[in-house]
């Protein structure tokens, strides 16, 4: 099924790496001008939120490195994150938006609203986040 090797990034789990995630997506879009603006926007929101979640929570204060791999397929966009941080205690089926005036806690709900599939799994000592957006332009 895969038609492209995709694009990857390895970065320190720190806020500044979000800029590198955005730069990676710009590289992806430059190579795939056929991906429409709505798909780009929604996918970028979801990818940024998961990257932000890893930066904020996975390290628990200790430095670690995460990887991101993005694939563009004719009918879908896929992103996969891996990090060696602590297990993430999350039930994605129970994620809801917090109260209106909450200042945090919206990231996963926002990501879920932007992709068709968002999965988290723990394998050994590694966290895996995988998201898929079916292309509206396909």
């Amino acid at each position: 099924m895969a038609t492209e090797p995709g694009v990857s990034l390895t970065a320190a789990a720190e806020p500044a790496s979000l800029d590198r995630v955005h730069a990676l997506l710009e590289t992806v879009w430059a190579a795939h001008e056929d991906v429409g603006p709505a798909d780009r926007m929604s996918f970028a929101i979801a990818v940024t939120e998961i990257a932000g979640n890893i930066v904020a929570h996975s390290g628990s204060g200790r430095p670690l490195v995460f990887s991101l791999h993005v694939d563009v397929e004719p009918e879908e966009l896929r992103a996969e994150f891996e990090d060696p941080g602590g297990r993430v205690d999350v039930d994605l089926s129970a994620v809801r938006m917090p109260d209106d005036l909450a200042e945090s806690g919206r990231g996963l709900a926002l990501a879920l609203g932007c992709v068709d599939r968002l999965e988290y799994r723990r394998e050994g000592e590694t966290n895996h986040w995988r998201m898929v957006r079916r292309r509206a332009d396909a």
Partner: protein, 111 residues
């Protein structure tokens, strides 16, 4: 990556963001709101015309600014949203709390 300008006139402050508002720089927005309030400007407008991207951390900073401004007896309004910021606001149901204004002038003058 973001630039932030804080312009204050007699009664209001306009905070103009350029670039992406994410966890990288959400604290800068919070500081600008604090600075405006400390200078006695309780009417604050965040000009988003050049803010190309906002994540949940950036949105949290905007909500934090709204709460701080309200606690000081003022208000914080957002103006000139890009499609991405509008989408984030709608997906989080916050367009009811932070009503977007089309222009900075409208946000400064609106009720």
């Amino acid at each position: 990556m973001i630039d932030l300008d804080l312009d204050m006139d007699a009664g209001a402050a306009v905070i103009r963001l350029r670039g992406r508002l994410t966890m990288v720089n959400a604290a800068a927005l919070r500081s600008a709101v604090t600075d405006a309030l400390a200078a006695g400007r309780t009417r604050i407008v965040v000009d988003l015309s050049d803010c190309e991207f906002m994540d949940s951390s950036g949105l949290g900073a905007v909500i934090g600014g709204l709460k701080t401004a309200r606690q000081a007896g003022g208000d914080l309004r957002i103006a000139s949203l890009s499609p991405q910021v509008s989408t984030v606001l709608q997906l989080t149901n916050l367009d009811r709390v932070l009503r977007p204004y089309d222009t900075v002038a409208g946000a400064l003058g609106g009720n």
